[in-house]
């Protein structure tokens, strides 16, 4: 493969569905972590709610809209369930509880007694035909792009179009929110909860609102992932996905409106470019080696970013270096 090919292939992922879905999930996480300072280390659980809401609904023969509603409802319930007891406590409790809950939920979903509902380890497949996600697509069958390496088929184009639209809508919504007095209270809570409390703000309610909204956006991302791949299984919803979303948020700039989008595009470009480059060297690199190596590269890249640009790509340097104490 030519180096141009490697570049174009990486660009395809960075503009395609993978980046779009990560950007959507990261937008939710950014509201929680970047703006409110909630360290939700179980973001993947909200994605799981969205994905399984969609899949279970398809399995019962319900429509795609019921699927979305089910996922959103489950995400709200989960956020309230986790948030009400933990958001009153110190910040670290939330991280412990969320990371554990995400893992427990994944194991419960994968357990045999859940097979009736979730398909257990097999998961649920055939979503596309049941839900008709690709049916309303106005994009004619065929492939779009240029050359051999930058090509989307009509289905890919449709799902990335829908997902990027959701990204744009949720980003604009978050933008309106964080620029309002409501967003100001969130930022105050991120800086110092007690100060916000002393000035008459009901901190727990705001944290809960931010947690629920972020979780709902995450569930939309999960639902889109289920629709795009046409199946869901428990193996995908592991903690490293949450960490990848953190990488995206921090890369783009935590607490910035467009950060998650930029972060997701850069994340997937770097990851896939490293992958392509490793396979394009003069000696052979096995798949397992390259898989580990590209994550190592991402880690080194993130460390360099933390050293030289801790505010992320879009972050404001003055703001990042400002500290309340």
């Amino acid at each position: 493969m030519s180096w141009l090919g490697v570049f174009l292939l990486a660009l395809q992922t960075a503009l395609g569905f993978p980046a779009a879905s990560y950007a959507l999930a990261a937008t939710g996480l950014n509201l929680q972590f970047g703006y409110t300072g909630l360290s939700n280390f179980g973001m993947v659980a909200f994605l799981m709610m969205g994905a399984y809401g969609m899949a279970i609904s398809a399995d019962r023969g319900w429509s795609i809209w019921v699927g979305f509603a089910l996922g959103i409802g489950a995400a709200v319930a989960l956020a309230l369930l986790l948030g009400i007891p933990t958001l009153r406590l110190r910040a670290d409790y939330l991280s412990v509880v969320t990371i554990a809950t995400a893992e427990i939920l994944r194991l419960v979903i994968a357990a045999r007694p859940s097979a009736e509902l979730t398909g257990a380890a097999r998961g649920i497949g055939g979503l596309s035909s049941k839900l008709g996600f690709f049916r309303p697509s106005f994009i004619p069958e065929g492939s779009y792009g240029f050359g051999d390496d930058f090509v989307f088929n009509s289905r890919q184009l449709w799902s990335m179009l829908v997902c990027w639209t959701l990204v744009l809508l949720s980003t604009l919504l978050v933008r309106t929110w964080v620029r309002s007095p409501w967003g100001r209270v969130l930022r105050a809570i991120r800086e110092d909860e007690d100060a916000a409390r002393a000035l008459g703000k009901n901190v727990v309610v705001y944290k809960l609102q931010s947690f629920v909204i972020g979780g709902v956006i995450g569930s939309l991302a999960g639902a889109m992932m289920a629709l795009d791949s046409g199946s869901v299984g428990p193996a995908r919803w592991i903690a490293p996905l949450t960490f990848a979303l953190y990488t995206v948020v921090i890369l783009g700039g935590a607490g910035t409106v467009w950060g998650p989008i930029v972060g997701a595009v850069v994340y997937w470009f770097v990851l896939d470019f490293a992958d392509g480059a490793l396979n394009n060297l003069w000696f052979d690199v096995s798949d397992t080696t390259s898989g580990a190596f590209r994550l190592t590269l991402m880690g080194i890249g993130l460390m360099l970013l933390m050293v030289f640009r801790p505010q992320g790509i879009l972050g404001n340097k003055k703001e990042a270096f400002a500290s309340g104490r």
Binding site: L173, T176, W177, S180, P181, W182, G183, R184, V185, R187, A188, R190, E191, D192, D194, A195, A196, R197, A198, L199, G200, K201, N202, V203, Q209, I213, G255, K318, E319, A320, F321, A322, S323, G324, R325
Partner: protein
């Protein structure tokens, strides 16, 4: 001069300098407030009344329980026992943000400037009754635009008074320690308080700024607010307080006008230890 005029001139004219004494017009009344940590009783206040419209200072040696008492009254800590009222309404067991909305605002010993927010945003945050702080209504700007404009005007007014107006658009983290104290006081005033509780507002501040802070504190009283503040510096206390409450080992051991306190044996003992007579130099038994 009739009796009424005399009481407005000196509300403490008929008040004896004894711990737990009743005041003519109390804004806050506390009864039997206790806070225990295991076997240690950090706060044990039988009865305390704070007079409205004056500066009351709360003094006492380190570890006397002043800040703990402060935290209890403002809802930041939970008392094991005791009741207290603010403006005649029950205030124990009330969460801090409700007390703040009722007009009892506090500052912190370690200033809590919200560093990654601008000075102006720090001020605007404190403004009460902002419709745009509701998650749904915040999405419709016309609902809160006018309120915001009014708050911006008020914030600039206060910032000018505290000489912070030139820094309004900078991040609060860029402020010096003294400026943060000023910001915290200005921010507290944004909430339209009736009782301002200041936890060591002069701690770690240079003498020149101390003077200006003192000016601001007396200005609060002159505008009709009641002030309770915790302080260590005796000079400061003697200059500006109308009434002094002294705590030691969790209890109130003395109250009175500054002059009464300066000569009070219990206070001197609490600060300096008991004088047993005889030599106190270099003798260890």
């Amino acid at each position: 001069m009739d009796a009424d005029a005399a009481t407005t001139a000196d509300p403490f004219a008929a008040v004896a300098p004894t711990p737990g004494v009743a005041k003519p017009d109390p804004i806050l009344v506390a009864d039997g407030v206790q806070r225990r940590y295991g076997g240690l009783t950090a706060v044990d206040v039988d009865h305390l009344e704070l007079q409205r419209g004056v500066i009351t200072s709360l003094i006492g040696p380190n570890g006397a329980g002043k800040t703990t008492f402060f935290n209890l009254l403002t809802g930041f800590d939970k008392a094991n026992e005791g009741t207290w009222t603010f403006e005649g309404v029950k205030a124990n067991g009330v969460r801090p943000h409700h007390l703040a909305r009722r007009g009892m605002v506090r500052t912190f010993q370690l200033t809590k400037a919200l560093g990654r927010m601008t000075v102006l945003d720090n001020m605007l945050l404190a403004g009460p009754d902002q419709t745009g702080e509701s998650a749904l209504k915040s999405l419709v700007k016309p609902l809160w635009r006018d309120q915001e404009t009014a708050k911006v005007d008020k914030a600039h007014e206060l910032l000018t008074r505290f000489k912070l107006d030139a820094l309004a658009d900078g991040y609060a983290a860029g402020l010096s320690g003294g400026q943060r104290k000023l910001l915290e006081m200005a921010r507290a005033l944004m909430t339209d308080p009736t009782l301002v509780m200041l936890d060591e507002p002069m701690a770690g501040v240079n003498p020149a700024l101390t003077q200006s802070l003192l000016g601001h504190v007396t200005a609060l009283r002159d505008e009709g607010m009641s002030v309770l503040f915790v302080e260590h510096d005796m000079d400061v206390i003697m200059t500006i307080s109308d009434w002094v409450v002294c705590m030691a080992e969790g209890s109130i051991i003395a109250e009175g006008r500054p002059a009464d306190i300066a000569g009070n044996d219990a206070v001197i003992e609490a600060y300096l230890g008991i004088d047993h007579g005889g030599a106190t130099t270099g003798e260890i038994r």
